[in-house]
């Protein structure tokens, strides 16, 4: 019986291995091993992964991308296991920075640690690579002002509010619409109607990453507020679901849509004229820059890294005039393959630095 178990297990492991038996390198000079850890599984992070892997390929370091599907406890397991593996550097987007200081510092004690996307200022992270979401939110507000110059009522749709970046993004949007001064620490409770001189924010609906809920939120807002002028989707998947709700309700074009992030359907919506515009962060740069900075830190070359520890990856506005160029570029970047050790050296694109 034990033998049977052994055989079955062997077969399983072999099948899991699935023709990818490249294993590890030929044991020349040790290659730096870096990890890029996200805060969840999402298309946004697939783009980030492409950036991280591309950087790994160009710099000749081994890059592993890990996306926790099980929230904060799984992210903790992943970080512990990365310590176990003895990786040289970790770039992580902490899910709950305030409460994760202990595990982040544990990682920082054994490897070079930087944060990306969402910061953990209390931890011993060396650098933070990200977008100022408050500024990005204000940019989103500009889009609303452009599409609704006369003002009107709008509704905000967002995945969840507990993340620092989503709070700031939403606050930036509201502050811009109400022409308030810059103050990222301001906080308007999501339940209340926020009335400015021209614009009224009817509410903020969250969906906890549940796509069906997100769509139902959009549908319900349409039936509840017949005078709704604009819907703003602040997480990548919100705008496409808003579009679907509008299409099924026969209201495409009547209600304006302003988006965030670069989902394919959002970009197509801009081309078709159903979405006015979107604010894009640059997940590709999060990935690329994370690996580049970790590599610089490991090589002791800190000359062009900022004292403040904050490396800004600015957001950009995408409207009908620049959407096609942006999308082409994005597709090209997404075509970047695989981990460094599994890929042939790149031809052409930049000189191979290959320190390993």
């Amino acid at each position: 019986m034990k033998n049977g178990l052994l055989v079955a297990g062997c077969m399983l492991l072999l099948s899991a291995c699935g023709g990818d038996g490249s294993g590890s390198g030929d044991g020349k000079k040790p290659v730096s091993r870096l990890a890029f850890v996200t805060n969840g599984v999402a298309d946004f992070w697939t783009i980030g992964q492409a950036g991280a892997l591309k950087a790994g390929q160009e710099l000749g370091v081994d890059v592993q991308v890990l996306m926790p599907a099980g929230g904060i406890s799984e992210q903790k397991d992943i970080l512990e296991d990365l310590i176990t593996k003895g990786v040289d550097g970790v770039a992580v987007s902490p899910i709950d920075p305030v409460n994760q200081t202990a595990i982040l510092n544990e990682v920082a004690g054994r490897a070079k640690l930087i944060t990306h996307d969402s910061d953990a200022p209390d931890s011993k992270r060396l650098y933070y690579i990200g977008t100022d979401n408050y500024k990005a939110g204000r940019m989103c507000g500009q889009l609303v002002k452009e599409v609704l110059p006369e003002g009107g009522a709008l509704m905000i749709f967002i995945g969840r509010m507990e993340q620092e970046n989503s709070k700031r993004r939403r606050q930036g949007l509201i502050d811009e619409l109400l022409d308030r001064s810059d103050d990222p620490t301001r906080y308007d409770a999501p339940g209340k109607v926020i009335k400015g001189s021209k614009y009224t924010v009817l509410g903020t609906l969250t969906d906890q990453f549940d796509r069906a809920k997100a769509k139902a939120n959009a549908e319900d807002a349409l039936s509840r507020y017949p005078d709704l002028k604009c819907m703003v989707g602040l997480f990548a998947y919100n705008p496409p679901l808003i579009l679907q709700a509008l299409a099924q309700g026969g209201k495409l074009g009547q209600v304006k849509v302003v988006a965030f992030d670069e989902d394919d359907e959002t970009l197509q919506g801009i081309i078709d004229g159903n979405v006015y515009g979107t604010v894009v962060q640059n997940p590709y740069q999060y990935g690329y820059k994370s690996i580049e900075v970790l590599n610089q830190v490991l090589e002791g070359d800190l000359s062009d890294l900022p004292e403040s520890g904050f490396i800004d990856i600015p957001a950009r506005l995408i409207r009908k005039d620049n959407v096609e160029v942006f999308w082409e570029d994005l597709k090209k970047k997404l075509a970047t393959p695989k981990r460094q050790e599994e890929v042939k050296p790149t031809e052409g694109a930049g000189e191979p630095i290959g320190k390993g």
Binding site: M1, K2, G4, L5, L6, A8, G9, M11, L12, L13, A16, C17, D20, G21, S22, G23, S24, G25, G27, P30, R33, V41, Q64, L66, M67, A69, G70, G71, I72, S73, K76, D77, I78, E80, D81, L82, I83, T84, K85, G86, I95, D96, V98, N99, Q100, T101, A102, I103, R160, M161, E162, T206, Q208, F209
Partner: protein
């Protein structure tokens, strides 16, 4: 005898998975050893203990022929409720701790009463529980993450502390909880009338009732034990992680617990199961989980597929072995 065969089988599977992980993550790479480090083995033991506690809980219910699908949501309720009471509501620890544990036990009591007195099916009752406690947790927290931040360092030792055994290796505190729970449960199941009654009722509830066993009382206590241990698990989980998000904390954990119990020899038809088996079953799943993070060529996104396949293979091999033994025995009987 049957029990011992089971334990040997699942123990063999654990040994195999453990060795395979060691070979693939340490021996076949040029990096320094990682799987066998004290640090990793401590992490593994801690995770096995946390999941083992909830696995033992569900084993009680499964032995009665029932099921509890609400474990993950109870973990969430306790996991977010405990820091919420302490940090947001400023309750004293001496009040908050018994409150959350009593709530967990009360949930089990309600499940048991609905199942025995109203004759509702366990699947339905606990499925509704899964939805209700998750919804309640998200409701009273407003979906906000609940955590301890830098407070209650002493309390966190219960989940993150270690009892140093050698210079580099320490026994994680949750293992102590697991040992206490496991020993008490094993004693209960094997050495007391209660345990024999529980198994008897799992084999045939009607017969057990006619032979004078208070079947309702036994079933209710099984659900109380299950939810209480889920509550204890939730407490330790949140002390370990330091915070919990109402939306996904403990998500799917009931299925991990059930899988570990089944892998460890509990029959979903009731009447069968050993505590040691459940712990080994939990260990198999945690080592697999660890191996996927440590072995480079197993991609993280097929994790569930790997775990599912190994469990399925284990169960199939076990079933085939059982038949082979039965065949051989009947052959011997003929001769």
């Amino acid at each position: 005898m049957k029990g011992i065969n089971k334990i040997l089988g699942i123990g063999g599977l654990l040994l195999f998975v453990w060795l395979a992980t060691w070979v693939f993550s340490d021996l076949l790479t040029e990096h320094q050893w990682s799987f066998l480090t004290a640090y990793n083995q401590e992490n593994l033991l801690k995770r096995i203990a946390l999941f083992g506690i909830i696995g033992i809980g569900v084993a009680f219910v499964i032995i009665t022929g029932g099921i509890d699908l609400s474990i993950g949501s109870v973990i969430c309720l306790v996991g977010v409720g405990f820091p919420w009471l302490l940090m947001e509501k400023d309750w004293p620890l001496a009040l908050a701790l018994p409150t959350v544990l009593l709530v967990a036990a009360g949930i089990g009591l309600i499940h048991g009463l609905l199942i025995t007195k109203l004759k509702l099916q366990p699947f339905v009752v606990t499925l509704c529980g899964l939805l209700i406690y998750r919804g309640v947790s998200r409701g009273f927290t407003g979906d906000q993450t609940q955590g301890f931040q830098n407070s209650f360092q002493g309390l966190k030792v219960l989940a993150t502390g270690k009892i140093p055994l050698t210079a580099s290796f320490g026994l994680p505190m949750p293992v102590v909880f697991l040992l206490v729970v496991a020993l008490a449960s094993a004693f209960f199941l094997n050495q007391t009338v209660y345990g024999r009654h529980l198994k008897a009722l799992g084999n045939n509830e009607e017969a057990a009732r006619f032979s004078g066993i208070h079947t309702d009382r036994m079933i209710i206590s099984a659900y109380v034990i299950c939810s209480s241990l889920a509550g204890l698990g939730g407490l330790l989980f949140v002390l370990d992680v330091n915070s919990a998000q109402p939306v996904d904390f403990g998500n799917f954990y009931e299925l991990y617990a059930i899988a570990a119990a089944v892998l460890g020899g509990c029959s979903l038809r009731g009447g069968e199961g050993t505590i040691l088996g459940v712990i080994i079953g939990t260990a198999v799943m945690r080592v697999l989980n660890n191996s996927i993070n440590l072995i480079d060529w197993i991609s993280k996104n097929i994790e569930l597929a790997v775990i599912g396949s190994v469990i399925l293979a284990g169960v199939i091999v076990d079933e085939l072995a059982k038949r082979m033994i039965a065949k051989r025995r009947s052959k011997m009987d003929k001769e």
